[in-house]
Structure formats: C-alpha cells, structure tokens
C-alpha cells in the first residue's frame, strides 16, 4: 500500500470549472450547467496527485446535448461581433502559414481525438492516442487577443475519455474540465489567447502519464500582435518518451508498460512519434541561405530534452517558448516536458544536419534523431570540408596496448602441448595474477615483485610452484630489489592450472622458457618442504 497522497485544495479548485470569471469578458459557458453543490456533509473533493493532475477528471459539468439542457450561452457583444474563421490545422512537421490579420477573430477549432494503431518503428506497432491522428497532434496557430472556440471531439471508436489542457489557456485546468469527453461525444469551450508564445497542449485524463505517453500532446502558437519576423522555412517537432512492454525494436504490436513509465525508463525517445519520422523521406529540408525556424516542444511525459542540431548554432532561441527575451548564438537548449522553444538559424553550408537530444543515449539507442537536409552550393568561406588526409607518425614512443604486452608471443616454436599450456595459463594469469603482478608482469615497486625477466624465477622455477600453492611471507630479493609482503596461497587452482600459469610466465616477458607439468606441481604441492 502506497502512502496517501494529499493535495491542497487550491490545486483541486484550480481544476473545478465552477469559478466565476474575474476580468475576462468571457462568462462561464452556461451550457455547461453548474453542477449541483455537493450536499452538505459530503466530503469535498479531491484526489491523489494522479487525479489532481488529471485535472480534471471530471469533476463537474461538461458540454451536453441533453434535450432538457438549456442552451443559454451567449457571447458578450464585443466578442460576438468578432469575425469568425475556421482554424487551419497542420500535421507535423508542418506549420500553418503566418497570420496576416491585424485584428482579433473568433477562431473555431475542431480537433478529433483518435486512438490509432501505427508503426512506432520498422516492424513495430503501437496504439497511439492522438489529437488529430498524428503524434504530435495538429498544430494550431492563432493571434494574441483571438477568441478560440474549441471543439474537442472524441471518436466513437475511442475506448477512453479524453480532454485537453492547453497551456495557452488562462482558466482552470487549461480547459481540461470543460473538455472532458467520453468516446463518441464532443465538448466545446472558449478561451482568449491572452499571451503570445509557443504553448504545449496535452491530454489531462487519469492516468495522465499514460495518455501523454501514448502521444497525446501538441502545440499552439499564439503569435504576438505584431507577428513574428518572416523566415523561409518553419517546422514543427516534438519530442516524447514511449514505454513499451517489449525492448527497442521488438516486433509486433506493443502495449504500454506502466511500470517502465513510472520508473521513467523509456523504450523509445522520439521526435514526432516514430523512429525515422524525420529521417530519409521524412527529413526536414532547406536551401543554403534559408532562414529556418523550428517550433520544438516536449510532450514527455517524463524526459527533459537537450535539443541540439549537430553542426548548427542557433542564431536565436526563444527559451521556454516566450518571445520576450531571445538568446543569441546558442548550441544546445533545454526543454522540459510541457514546455517549448523556438529556434531560428540561417543555414549556410549544404549537407545533412542531425537533430538530437544531446543526452545522446536517447539519440543513439532510443530513436531521438532527425535530419535537416540542406541543399545548395558549398560555402568554403564557412566550412572547408576535408582538405587533406595523410598518414601520421607519432613523434613519441607509441604506447603499447595492454593486450599486445600480455599476449606477447611466447618463445617461438614451442611444442604444441607447451603452447596449449601457455594459452591456458594466460587466461589464469589474466584472471588472478595480474592484479598484483600487473598485466605486463612488471609488478609494482616495493609492493609486488616483477615476474618479467625475474632472476628469482629463473634461479628456481619449481620454487615458484611452491609459492603459488603454499603462498609466501617475508623478505625476498628480486632483480636486486627487496620485497617484504604476503602472497596468499592460490589453493583454489588445480595442479593443471598452476602448471599452466607458470608455464605461461616462464614463456613470457623475457623469461627463460620451459614448462611445468601437473604431476610435478602435484608433488611440489604435497611435499613437506
């Protein structure tokens, strides 16, 4: 049993729709009839974190086609008189055209939630929950001051209720309560786009991490009244983490893995909802000299992106999706879940540029990779490409790799039984002896005597067998250096292993060669000295 989770009621109230408008001209939509107050004595709401986030579950009323329901909602005159237009929605990676209007409008949005089975990788299917049939969902572009008349439509084939929390909304739950919609139903709510910026939207129905983890996020751009500086290319990219029961690339239809999601161990980290969405034929394109703007957001549910384009420096970054204070000349920008950024750069050199999450395991192993292909003439003033390729000889002594030393060829032309002993003995040495005597047999000064070129060994190889089987304590002199340490008996080694490892040592590092037999080792082990 998990501990209880409690939430201050303010958070819950923030998810209750029954709050009178303050200084917005929008009245509460009266077709969302006020819920009857809970009878006195009933516990007042709320929920664990999961539900509070869910914003929204449910709590109160929602749009209703009930024939008994009054439809009294009327816009105040100043809003009712706004010109009405249907929103242009685009699928990623495309963005609707800039807004030409210099006056506010009532923008009508119809966004359908659909649960669909689609490839998440080659040969791997996943059931995505989508806003508009894509991951991320449809891109919405409005102007600061617009009235957005939002219709969230939940397909009859959906298995679950869904809603939408738009970060561009000023109001409880970001619209989550008002838009909470059962399968086969539609909800309408309205909000004013008060603040310019690039905003994430997402589903906020419990369990929220699963709804987001299945792809339920997208973005809305609220253009400043003056518009944005013109550019040549605009693109829409969102990163999300996905949690499947199988491993990366496992074929077939994969299910959501709640345990992995809770532990934040994604199987996939993706740009635009599938491995390869932005590579190959899906790659973004531009021409040399183009000004490129990317609207980049993170749906999550869990991972923060370190967004980077390999080989580009962003001329301008609007951190957190706010247009007030852009940064200039940025290499990598951080975007947390539920946030966004706008990056602008002029492409100067042709070639393929990789979009990555610079937490690079995600790019290398989990799919967070996209491409921007830039065509046009080379620009040698900026980047030369490779201009020469030659052999290189180091001026200093080349370091020898450990393996070359350890595996240094033993005395040539060994008889094959001895050679077999050497090879087996090398394995034993590299498992046990190397720790003190070192991989190259040099030992460590004052601590562990050398075995390489050892006069001590050369003087009496069989003594070494006794030391290995019985250990050695006390002073010895090797190659003129005194050592006084303890070598424990390696009694776990068989007679064969002792014979092998000593044969390896005798035939390595300038030692005199020769070999020991298991039978001889057996005698030495059992000798009374």
């Amino acid at each position: 049993m998990k501990p209880f989770h409690c939430i201050p009621s303010q958070i819950i109230q923030a998810s209750s729709e029954a709050i009178a408008p303050v200084d917005t001209p929008l009245p509460r939509l009266s077709r969302h009839r006020a819920a009857p107050r809970a009878p006195a004595g009933l516990p007042t709401v709320i929920a664990g974190l999961a539900l509070a986030l869910a914003a929204c579950l449910p709590l109160v009323a929602r749009a209703d086609d009930d024939p008994s329901s009054p439809r009294a909602f009327q816009l105040p005159p100043e809003l009712a008189s706004l010109p009405v237009e249907e929103a242009v929605l685009t699928s990623p990676p495309f963005v609707p055209p800039p807004i030409k209007r210099d006056y506010p409008a009532r923008v009508v949005v119809h966004l359908e939630v659909r649960e669909i089975v689609r490839p998440i990788a080659d040969g791997t299917l996943y059931t995505f929950w989508t806003f508009g049939g894509t991951v991320p969902g449809s891109f919405l572009r409005v102007r600061e001051g617009d009235l957005i008349d939002f219709h969230l439509e939940n397909s009859p084939t959906s298995k679950l209720p869904h809603n939408i929390d738009m970060h561009a909304v000023t109001g409880p739950g970001g619209g989550a309560v008002a838009s909470f919609t059962a399968p086969g139903h539609s909800s309408e709510f309205m909000f004013r786009a008060l603040k310019p910026g690039l905003y994430v939207y997402h589903c906020a129905t419990a369990p929220v991490p699963m709804h987001i983890g299945n792809g339920m996020y997208g973005m809305v751009l609220v253009e400043p009244k003056g518009g944005l500086p013109p550019v040549d290319k605009e693109y829409y990219v969102m990163q999300g983490d996905f949690y499947t029961t199988g491993a990366y690339g496992d074929p077939g239809l994969q299910s959501f893995d709640a345990a992995k999601s809770i532990d934040e161990r994604p199987t996939y980290v993706l740009f635009n909802g599938s491995v390869g969405a932005l590579t190959g034929a899906g790659a973004l394109t531009a021409k040399v000299g183009d000004r490129v703007r990317i609207y980049f957001g993170v749906g999550g549910p869990n991972l923060t992106s370190s967004f980077h384009i390999i080989g580009e420096i962003f001329d301008r970054v609007y951190p957190d999706g706010t247009f007030g204070h852009p940064l200039e000349d940025v290499q990598t920008t951080t975007v947390p879940p539920g946030s966004a950024t706008v990056v602008e750069f002029r492409v100067k050199v042709p070639g393929t540029y990789l979009l990555v999450d610079h937490a690079l395991s995600r790019a290398f192993n989990q799919g967070a990779l996209g491409m921007l292909k830039v065509s046009g003439p080379e620009n040698r003033n900026v980047y030369s490409g490779k201009v020469s390729y030659t052999l290189f000889h180091s001026s200093g002594p080349a370091p020898q790799p450990v393996s070359a030393i350890v595996n240094a060829p033993a005395t040539p032309a060994l008889p094959s039984p001895v050679l077999a002993q050497v090879n087996r003995g090398r394995v034993v040495f590299n498992q046990i002896c190397f720790a003190c005597h070192q991989p190259n047999g040099q030992g460590l000064p004052t601590l562990f005597p050398p075995l390489a070129g050892s006069d001590f060994l050369k003087a009496n190889p069989e003594r070494a067998a006794r030391i290995v089987t019985h250990g050695l304590t006390g002073p010895v002199t090797v190659n003129g250096k005194a050592f006084n340490n303890i070598m424990p008996a390696q009694s776990q080694l068989s007679d064969q292993q002792v014979a092998d490892v000593l044969t390896f040592v005798l035939n390595s590092w300038g030692n005199p060669g020769g070999n020991l037999t298991p039978a001889r080792v057996h005698e030495i082990r059992n000798a009374t000295q």
Partner: protein, 294 residues
C-alpha cells in the same frame, strides 16, 4: 426533497457516500423537473427483494462471497479496505440476444421509442433496427451503446440491479488463477492488451470469456461495464460551496489514492467519470447483480 441516499440506503451499501444516485442524476440531467421521475425510477430499480435466509441459486449468476477489496481511490477517512457483502453477479455481460428479448417485451426501450431524456442519439447505434441487432451485433456479443437508464431498466425487469462500483471492482480484483488480479500475469496481459486497442466494430462471443477465480467470465477483453454509482468517485468542491476551507487541510476532505500504480483502475475511474446517465459508448455494456438474502 427526499435524498437519494435515503432511498439507496435500503440496499446493502458499504459506503453511503458512494450512492448518491439522485445527486448523480441531478448533476447530469440538471432539470429539476425530471427529479420526481427519477425518484420513481430509482424506487423501481431498488424495490426490496423478497427476504431469504440462505443464498438461493440464481440462474446465470455467480455467488460472490463476502470479502474485502482495496480500492485505488477512496474517500479520505474510509478504511484502506472496503468490506463487500456477498452478492450475485451475472456470469457474463448482457448480450445482444438478451437485450433483444428485453426490448421486445418493453417497447419503450426500443431504439426508435426510447425517450431522449434517457438515451443519447447513439443508443443501440450498432443495431440494424429496433428488433434486429444485425451483423454488427452478434447475438452472443455484449450489448453496447446502452445508457445507464436502459441498463437499470433491463436489470429491474430481470429482478436484478446494477452492481455498485465496490461490488464490480471487488469481483474484478480477482485474476484467472490468483486471487489478486494485479499479480496474475495472464490477467494483466489480457487487460492491457485490451486497453491498448481501439474499440472494434464487432465484439467477440462472451462464451469465450475466461473465468476469474470467482467464476465470473468475460470481465476482461470485452467491454467497459456500467455500475450503479458510476460517477460517485469524484465529487465537486467549489470555492463558493462553503466547505473549501475544510477541504484546504489535507485529510479533512477528499480522496486518497490507494494504489497509484494501478493505471487500469484509473482508466476505469476516468471512463466512469466521463459519463452521464444517458450516454452511450461503443465499448460500454453492463452486467447485473442481485442481493443475497435480506
């Protein structure tokens, strides 16, 4: 006005807070004029059953023994486990064939006759006609696209009722082979595999449904199921309702999550919370329950 709780308290009710049917109905229908109708309906639905001393056999139903279950969400102050008295539960969800029998004998519930107050525009939408389920609604597949009102009426006509959330969840807490479904890998696999797919146009035969340890079948892999108190899980606290101050202190009012990792349970809670009593959904059916003894 008689409170719904008073009416509902005539039934075994482990948690009075979970049975606010009129509140439910009032909230979602809104119009005061319908309340008396609903009270009548509710009374009909909960007419006391004849007293019996011992469980009688109930054809087509499974006796669920009394026990405890651990809800994923509960009222703060409720104990972590909820006792559920013994009850009968239909072995299978109600099928199209069974619902066809019902609408034959209750013409007011035929698709073209049903009052729009009690069903939305998609009531029995997958049927070919009033008395013809047709190819998209095979006889032994669960009936779907039925409102809570229609389900209640069916149950009442059969001398039964809809299970409470507690009863349904308690029955569902049992796996195929293990008493705790959360630990039953085959059950969990089937559950999430079903959740992972959009609603199919035609549902499978309920007789293929696997039994859980209680002997209840086809609870997984077919449909969501109506419960009597489907939207009791979440009540509203508004800043102007007068009790916001009390709710401000953690524990003084509210719900607590029992198991935040049980995503499937939260999906059921969300689904139920999204519904109004006249709603119909293409993946939502029901099965009936019945009291055991007085």
């Amino acid at each position: 006005m008689a409170t719904p709780a008073t009416i509902r308290d005539t039934r075994p009710c482990p948690s009075g807070l979970r049975h606010h049917v009129l509140d439910t109905v009032g909230r979602f229908l809104g119009s005061p004029s319908v309340i008396p109708v609903l009270i009548g309906l509710a009374c009909l639905a909960v007419a006391p059953l004849p007293s019996v001393g011992l469980p009688l056999p109930a054809p087509g139903m499974v006796l669920i023994p009394a026990g405890l279950y651990t809800p994923s969400l509960r009222n703060t102050g409720d104990s972590a486990t909820i006792p559920v008295p013994a009850f009968y539960l239909d072995e299978f969800p109600v099928t199209n064939a069974q619902f066809l029998d019902f609408v034959r004998s209750h013409p007011q519930w035929r698709r073209s006759h049903a009052a729009r107050l009690f069903v939305d525009g998609n009531y029995l939408a997958n049927w070919a006609g009033d008395l013809d389920p047709g190819p998209l609604a095979p006889p032994d597949a669960p009936v779907v696209d039925v409102s809570w009102f229609a389900a209640e009426a069916y149950a009442a006509a059969a001398g039964k009722r809809l299970p409470s959330t507690d009863e349904w969840e308690y029955a569902f807490s049992s796996g195929y082979t293990l008493r705790d479904a959360r630990l039953d890998p085959a059950f969990q696999h089937d559950l999430y595999a079903w959740l992972a797919l959009p609603a199919p146009p035609t549902l499978p035969d309920v007789r293929a449904g696997r039994a859980n340890t209680f002997g209840v079948r086809a609870m997984v892999g077919y449909v969501w199921e109506w419960v009597d108190d489907f939207n009791s899980a979440l009540l509203s606290s508004s800043p102007d309702s007068g009790d916001a101050a009390a709710a401000r202190v953690c524990g003084s009012g509210g719900f607590s999550a029992g198991d935040l990792t049980n995503y499937a349970a939260f999906m059921r809670i969300a689904l139920r919370s999204s519904l109004k009593a006249r709603d119909t959904v293409s993946s939502l059916g029901f099965r009936c329950a019945k009291d055991v003894g007085p």
